[in-house]
Every structure is written in C-alpha cells, then in structure tokens.
C-alpha cells in the first residue's frame, strides 16, 4: 500500500498513526482546495453559457423593433430600442473589449466553455486520484488504530 507521490513512494504501513493522521490532514486540505477550484470552474462555465443564451435571445433580428427598458439605476428605467442587432462588445479579459458579430461572439463563448470543460475534466482526474489516496490512508490509519487497541486489550488481559 503506497501513495503515488511525486516520484516518491512511501510505504504507508511503516508510518506511525500520528504521521498517518498528519498525511490525512494534508490530503484533506488538498482535496478541499481542489474541490473549491472545481466549483469555481463550474461557475465560470455556467456564466459563459448564460452569455451565449443572452446573445442568442437578447441580440437578434426578432427583437429589433421591440421596445426595451434600459436600467439607469436599479429603480429607474428609460425606454429604448436596440440600434444594432448584429454586433456586440465582448470582454476578452484584462479590460479589453472587442467588437464582434453575434455569431462570432457565440463562437468565442463556446470556445471558452470547451476550454473550461477540458480544465474541469483534468481537475476531476486529479481530485479522484487524491480522493483515492485519501481513502487508502484512512484505511491504513483505521487498521493501525484497531491493531493498537487490540494490542492494548491483549496487554490488559495478560496482566
């Protein structure tokens, strides 16, 4: 039983219960951190999906002459119509905005979604690997504790 660390294999059986619980704590933290990142990636992906839907439904020929209300503040709206149903400004990061056609904008967002999907998949594998390691460590720790208890009881019985 060994965890596949970075090019370094340690026999878990040779560690003391204390060391094992330390390893477990560290793994717990790592899994927690990675799960957080995973959720963040999921959230970002959802945001891009919302953007695609917004561009598809909000900026199209079908809404060209429809009146819409533009929020000036959270409680004050003025009526308006969409002047351009073909172009949108897309935030590409670090404060830069690029004018794109609606089709290109959707392509851009779909590309981002795919990129994130790849990252999510990679991360999933890492989380699963870590969770596996954690399970193994927990199992060994449990056996150690049980063996320790039995040893203690046997000692009491003998005396």
């Amino acid at each position: 039983m060994a965890t596949g660390g970075q090019g370094q294999q340690i026999d878990l059986g040779s560690l003391s219960a204390q060391q094992l619980s330390q390893v477990k704590k560290q793994l717990d933290e790592e899994v927690q951190h990675l799960t957080n990142s995973y959720q963040n990636l999921r959230g970002a992906q959802q945001k891009f999906r919302d953007c695609v839907v917004s561009v598809k439904d909000g900026v199209a020929e079908s809404v060209k002459d429809k009146a819409l209300l533009v929020p000036l503040t959270s409680s004050l709206y003025v009526p308006g119509t969409l002047a351009d149903t073909e172009h949108v400004l897309v935030d590409v990061g670090t404060g830069f905005y690029v004018e794109k056609t609606t089709d290109d904008a959707q392509k851009f967002y779909n590309g981002k979604i795919e990129e994130l999907a790849k990252n999510i998949k990679d991360l999933e594998n890492i989380v699963n690997g870590k969770a596996n390691n954690l399970r193994v460590v927990e199992e060994v720790l449990r056996q150690k504790v049980l063996a320790g208890q039995q040893g203690g009881q046997a000692g009491v019985g003998a005396s």
Binding site: L89, V92, G93, T94, G95, F96, Y97, V98, E99, K100, F108
Partner: protein, 120 residues
C-alpha cells in the same frame, strides 16, 4: 553567548524567512494568474482581423484603441510578468537556501547542547 538564546534568535530568523517565502509564493501565484489571463487575451487578439475594433476599459468608459497598440500593450505586459516571475523565482531559491542554512545551524547548536548534558 547562551546557546538557548542563540537557538531562539536563529529560530526567529528562520520563522521570518518562512513568512517571506510564503508571501513570495502568493505573489508568484498572482502573477501566474495574470499571465494566464493576458495569454488568453493575446491568443484572442491574434485571431482577430486587422480591422477589428478593440476598446479598452478606462475607468467607467470604453476607449477605442488601435489594434496594433492593443497587441503591443498585451505583449509588453506579458514580457514584464515573465521578468517578474523569474525575479521572484530567484528570490525564492535564495530564501530557501538561507533557511536551509539556518536549520542546519539550529540543529548543530541543539546537538551541542545535548552532548554536555549527556556527559554530565
């Protein structure tokens, strides 16, 4: 000097180095995420047509920017970030070596302290 005090001083220094180290690590992390973002912007710019309109967010307003200018801005940022990361890597290595040395010193003094105790 009293070895006890010496150890105390050394471990204080060691602790200081460790704090410095972790603050540098988080600085590097921040730079790396900025580098990532700038790289994706650069990739996006490379795939744009020459006549594409690029706007830059300055405060609350969007200012129209020249394509080549925007590209060179991002390139410049990436260059700077790369340099910064290299610089921080250098300091990280330095600190690691220093704290390794401190650790050795502490261990040496501690074993020296133990020896006379055993003999006595």
């Amino acid at each position: 000097m009293d070895p006890q005090k010496q150890v105390q001083a050394l471990s204080d220094e060691y602790q200081g180095l460790q704090t410095e180290y972790s603050s540098l690590v988080s600085a590097r992390q921040k730079l790396e995420s900025q580098q990532q973002e700038n790289k994706s912007v650069q990739k996006e710019f490379d795939s744009l047509a020459d006549d594409a309109s690029i706007y830059k967010l300055v405060g609350p307003v969007l200012l129209k920017q020249d394509t080549t200018e925007a590209k060179s801005t991002v390139d410049g940022r990436l260059e700077y970030i790369e340099k910064e990361i290299k610089r921080i890597e250098g300091s990280l290595k330095e600190i690691q070596e220093k704290s390794e040395g401190k650790k050795m010193e502490i261990m040496q003094i501690q074993s020296q302290m133990q020896q006379p105790a055993v003999q006595a």
